[in-house]
């Protein structure tokens, strides 16, 4: 089952104004930077973006924010982005903040056909407002619903022509769950290899979850907080 598309333009074909997208990554780590650049170039707007973070001012989803292409963000942490804060406080941008574990689990649930589940996270806080509360084992939990997206865009280290993916280190993060939850899932990879190259035992995301795959033309892989020690 060949899933290969040749260009980023072909990969994001069909993404239209006002759609809901999931985008993998944690901070700037493991983000689909080629696809984001293409969405900026194409000027698709009114987007609802489900992504743990919102990039920084001049990289990642920050680029889409700068151009005001995002209508709504569904994230857990957005603290590295001045333009984001400005748009949110001014009311230009809708924001739905979700506990990180609930965000991850809601994406997985969306991909796994679990419409809703109970979690203790957020009980007694703003996050629980309007949500059902139920006690299990004497502890209150809130009901959280699955998340879905028209397109999920993920970034992997290696991928094969059948859409099987392998992630590197902490660049894995939200990518596997989002790959499961997209109606159409686009994977951009650093290295595209023939089917049969990746060991079946070592595949993180089976190709069944991926509809399109391409090798990104260029990965900047910017580091957000370069931290070192001295020898």
């Amino acid at each position: 089952m060949n899933k290969v598309v040749n260009t980023v333009s072909e990969a994001v074909h069909g993404i239209k104004d006002n759609m809901t997208l999931m985008l993998g990554g944690f901070g700037l780590c493991g983000i689909p930077e080629n696809s984001i650049a293409e969405l900026v170039r194409k000027g698709i707007s009114g987007l609802t973006c489900i992504s743990n973070n919102a990039g920084v001012d001049d990289f990642g989803l920050g680029l889409l924010l700068q151009k005001k292409q995002i209508k709504k963000m569904i994230s857990s942490y957005v603290g590295e982005n001045d333009e984001f804060e400005r748009q949110m406080l001014s009311g230009e941008l809708e924001v739905d903040l979700i506990p990180q574990g609930s965000l991850a689990e809601r994406c997985r649930a969306g991909g796994a056909g679990i419409p809703a589940f109970y979690t203790p996270a957020g009980f007694g806080t703003e996050v629980a407002e309007g949500k059902e509360v139920r006690e299990f084992n004497g502890k209150p939990h809130i009901l959280e619903h699955a998340l879905h997206a028209d397109y999920a865009i993920v970034k992997a280290w290696k991928g094969d022509t059948e859409g099987n993916l392998v992630f590197k280190a902490t660049a894995r993060n939200f990518n596997p769950m989002m790959a499961m939850a997209g109606k159409i899932t686009i994977a951009e990879v650093e290295e595209l290899v023939p089917a049969g190259t990746l060991k079946p035992n070592e595949i993180h995301t089976p190709g069944i979850f991926v509809q399109r795959i391409f090798q990104g033309a260029r990965f900047e892989k910017r580091i957000e907080q370069r931290t070192t020690r001295t020898k």
Binding site: F26, G27, L28, C29, G30, N52, S75, S76, Y77, V78, G79, E80, E85, M88, L89, V95, L97, P99, Q100, G101, S102, L103, A104, E105, C107, R108, T119, P120, A121, G122, F123, G124, T125, E126, V127, W157, F167, K168, A169, T170, A171, R172, N173, F174, N175, P176, M177, H204, K221, R222, I223, E224, Q225, R226, T227, T228, R229, T230, K231
Partner: protein, 218 residues
């Protein structure tokens, strides 16, 4: 004398037990890793998907694909593993992590914590904090006793939007170690040279002082 951030971290490190998996939040908690007591082995989990975090890399050895939850470049120890965010929070929510250390803007005498939002001013998001505080059995808050304006952060009730309710069991500040139970802060230890009176004056919530309060020892 009040402790500095490193002092707070060093005191918290005394709470570590051999064989524990530990999640350290951003800020002061991160510094705890520098003071692991001798003879004790702990493993650090970072909620972005790594178990067995090591020290920061040497210059030139940074890997953009290897960061902690504070987005800092890190290294890994022998026996480390990587996993996705759902699995990471399965560890946290499923109580496989024995200790969580995190910062706070406010803590209340019944164990509520606020650390993610100042309405109208600052909204960075809760990140993994709500999952951590709702799930962990053993949570230590590391923070300064008062904010920059000199206002106590140990309150009768939190004024800011909550991160979790009734979840904090212990607080270590620049002035004191306090246990939260029975709806009050129980003073366990004083920072070296800091008086009970000073701690009392700087604690807005109910403070219980039972008997002689020892100084922290390092």
């Amino acid at each position: 004398m009040a402790l500095d951030k490193n002092g707070i971290a060093q005191r918290i490190a005394q709470e570590l037990r051999d064989g524990w998996y530990v999640n350290l939040g951003i800020g002061i908690p991160t510094l705890v890793a520098n003071y692991i007591p001798e003879g004790i082995e702990v493993e650090f989990q970072s909620e972005n998907g790594v178990l067995g975090m090591g020290p920061f890399p040497f210059e030139g050895e940074e890997d953009a694909d290897l960061i902690n939850a504070g987005k800092q470049t890190i290294t890994t120890m022998k026996g480390a593993s990587f996993f996705d965010s759902a699995t990471s929070f399965a560890m946290i929510r499923g109580q496989h992590v024995q200790l969580t250390v995190l910062g706070a803007m406010e803590v209340s005498e019944n164990g509520d914590i606020a650390n993610w939002k100042i309405p109208g001013k600052m909204v960075k998001g809760m990140g993994g904090a709500m999952d951590l505080v709702a799930s962990a059995d053993n949570i230590i808050v590391a923070m300064m006793h008062s904010n920059r304006a000199g206002v106590s952060k140990l309150l009768k009730a939190c004024s800011l939007p909550l991160t979790g309710v009734g979840c904090v069991k212990k607080v270590v500040t620049d002035l004191a170690v306090l246990e939260i139970k029975t709806g009050a802060f129980h003073l366990l230890e004083r920072a070296p040279g800091v008086s009970v009176e000073e701690i009392q004056a700087k604690t807005e919530g109910t403070l219980i002082v039972n008997g002689i309060i020892p100084e922290m020892s390092f």
